[in-house]
Amino acid sequence: MQPRYRRIGSRIAVALAALVALVSVYQLYLGGNLALAAACTAGFGLAFYVFTARRTYTYRYLFPGLAGIAMFTVLPLAYTVWIGFTNYSSKNLLTFERATEVVLGEVYERSSVRYQFTLRAAEHGFRIVLRTGGDDEAEAGAGSGSGSAARPPTEFITEALALTNTAPQRVAVVPLGGIDPGEPLPLKDVIARRDAIRAVTVLFPDGAAATMASLREFTPYQALYQRNPDGSLTNRQTGGRLTPNFQTGFYETATGDQIQPGFRVYVGADNYVRVFTDGKFRGPFLRVFVWTVVFAAASVIFTAGLGMLLAELLAWESLRFAGLYRVLLFLPYAVPSFISILVFKGLFNRNFGEINLILDGLLGLRPNWTGNALLARGMILIVNTWLGYPYFMLICTGLQKSISHDLYEASALAGAGPLTNFFQITWPLIRKPLTPLLVSSFAFNFNNFVIIYLLTQGRPDFLDTNVPAGETDILVSYTYRIAFEDSGQQFGLACAIATLIFAVVATLSVINLRLTRANVEERR
């Protein structure tokens, strides 16, 4: 009977999961995000199909992992490429819908109408009494067309308000009628509570609204723009029209003036054109690119070279304490890199750093490690070598162990020294399996954001450019600074550069895949 219970149980579980999925999709739909709701529906639908249909059994194992990769790896990469073709930046931050909402939310004061207001004490707090003056009502009535102010002078009153906090609140007013509001409070009471009163928006029975304009007056305001059926907006104050421009991502007036905030639009290859032709961006981009390549190549050469040398030395049988040396030399690899990089940042500090204290004591030097381009680059390479050589020491030790001992014995009989051994036996044999690792290491350092950002943040900055870029910036840190540190937050431009990096990484990956496969086939 157990399988039957189990089957019923699993059906209930599926039904519950479906219910939860439907409710959350419906919430998204209500929230107004149709695309997201549709995507989630498709995703949930696929998941339910895979986990309930008999013929998709194999894919039940595959689905969670592949769905994870699709959502958490592919989606961000694809979205990056897409943003690279848009003008997404702090000026064009919002979607078209949100930007329209913001523009429609703008209001203007209809300064021709004024309500004199007074504060009256009530049982629990205060009431605000508004009174239209009889003088300018006709003009106001003509202006708004609502006719509300065309009535004879009227008084309105709010309910009792605490007026203790300054959080915005909307309060309805009713005609005073026969209510006795009590005596007006003196102006000093109004002054004492003016911030709380300023946060009050009063709503008249006809839908108009007003806020405090001065210590004696409330003024009504109205939405500045009215939406037309064709998507353009009419300015109620001036009568001008705004049309959304989907090339620039702004609402524009007839004369082409742009209204903030802008919205995100597809701009084609504009960002790429800027990177390669606009002198403002091309100069720093090329300099950063050159340093990125130099940095990655030098890091690989230094770490692999030192690691290989150590692996060779420690494999020497006459050398005692090799095990101890190995553990001590491995230590930099085990310490979390964000900690060791920050430790180096402190040690290299010009004024308080221990390295300069030692150099000052020994040689009388106080080099400015962070201010001088050459020194900063040198510091980065020193730190990166410190961080990276243990990995290659480990790898080379492993590769060397797989080389047959007979070869070295034969070479010893022939009287060969260590250099001959290395160049005639070790290097030719470890070169092939090592190459893919060297390429990976190059790719890793090409995108080694953490060391640059934690150590120098790309500084010292270029003085002759107005984009945020520095002598030690590599491409990824440059995109980070364009996106998150510059006031312009040029996400589109940053993503375009990131897409260019994708191309480099993809090329390296394909090369690597080829190399690895060639190795595997050779071994067979």
Binding site: T73, L77, Y88, Y333, G346, N349
Partner: protein, 296 residues
């Protein structure tokens, strides 16, 4: 390796020892220094490697305990280090568990089951894992802004968002686990299935117990990766309470507010357990990756 011992042998040995000792000193200098700095009083004091005067003020602050300095002022901990460490452990623990779960099942399918486009899918995964998340920072940020507008606990500046973003690591480990599964002969599971086990039972009760070493290795590797990850966390997390250790540590060393001593204590405190785990796991990793399902 055997090498001819010539006349220069002795000198070469001495040279090698000299070089290695110098390198060990150079390598451990920063580590020894940070330990020493954490025990010195004050944030600017400079002195010898072995402090003349030992003070535990920085350690107290690192543990979140305030102390009274010589002038009688109460010094409050500058940053909630323990909180950050706990945040890091939470994020890494949850993310690593999910990564193991997601990559194990996929790896099983790739290793054992037949389906269309298997090789193509695998190659795609290998290529994808070469793209570090740092390249997609803007997209990750933008995606979580959209999510946050609907589900506030999963938006920017929340720990769950970081966990979700870290799940992209799955691509890396599918391949690792699949490699291990391939070393376990399929005959063992086939025998179980002949005895009436369903494919899922064969996977759960036969293959998984044999794969515990690799699952542990993947868990530890991804755990450490999540702990030391900086870029994604720095973009997604903003308020001081919610930072992970990797993001928070940077706040100590601003030129205007240079808390060198406090940083040193916090760094040693948080770095030691991670280093210890890594050193232990290193041994385990090698044995886990080289020993297959069949022993002896």
């Amino acid at each position: 390796m055997p090498i001819v011992a010539g006349k220069s042998h002795r000198w070469r040995l001495i040279g090698a020892h000299g070089f290695l000792i110098a390198l060990v000193l150079a390598t451990s200098f920063p580590l020894a220094m940070v330990l020493s700095i954490s025990l010195r009083p004050g944030n600017f004091a400079s002195g010898s490697l072995i402090p003349d005067q030992i003070s535990f003020e920085h350690w107290r602050l690192a543990f979140g305990i305030s102390y009274v300095d010589v002038d009688g002022r109460v010094v409050l901990p500058p940053f909630p280090v323990m909180r950050w460490l706990w945040n890091s452990v939470k994020v890494a623990g949850v993310a690593a568990s999910l990564i193991v779960a997601l990559s194990t099942t996929a790896a099983y399918a790739f290793s054992r089951l037949k389906f269309r486009a298997r090789t193509a899918t695998l190659n795609t995964i290998v290529l994808l894992q070469m793209f570090p998340p740092v390249l997609a920072l803007v997209a990750i940020y933008a995606i979580f802004e959209v999510i946050g507008a609907h589900v506030s606990w999963l938006g920017v500046d929340s720990l769950p968002s970081v966990v979700i973003a870290y799940l992209g690591q799955v691509a890396l480990y599918v391949w690792t686990i699949k490699g291990y599964f391939d070393t376990i002969p399929a005959e063992i599971e086939e025998a179980a299935m002949v005895d009436g086990a369903t494919p899922f039972q064969a996977f759960r009760r036969v293959l998984l117990p044999m794969a515990v070493p690799i699952l542990a290795v993947v868990f530890i590797l991804s755990f450490i990766w999540c702990i030391i990850e900086y870029p994604v966390a720095s973009v997604l997390l903003q308020s001081e309470d919610r930072l992970t250790l990797a993001v928070g540590s940077r706040l100590y060393l601003y030129e205007q507010r240079y808390l060198w001593g406090d940083f040193a204590a916090a760094a040693v405190l948080s770095g030691l357990p991670i280093t210890a785990v890594f050193l232990l796991a290193q041994r385990w990793m090698v044995s886990g990756l080289t020993s297959g399902g069949l022993k002896g």
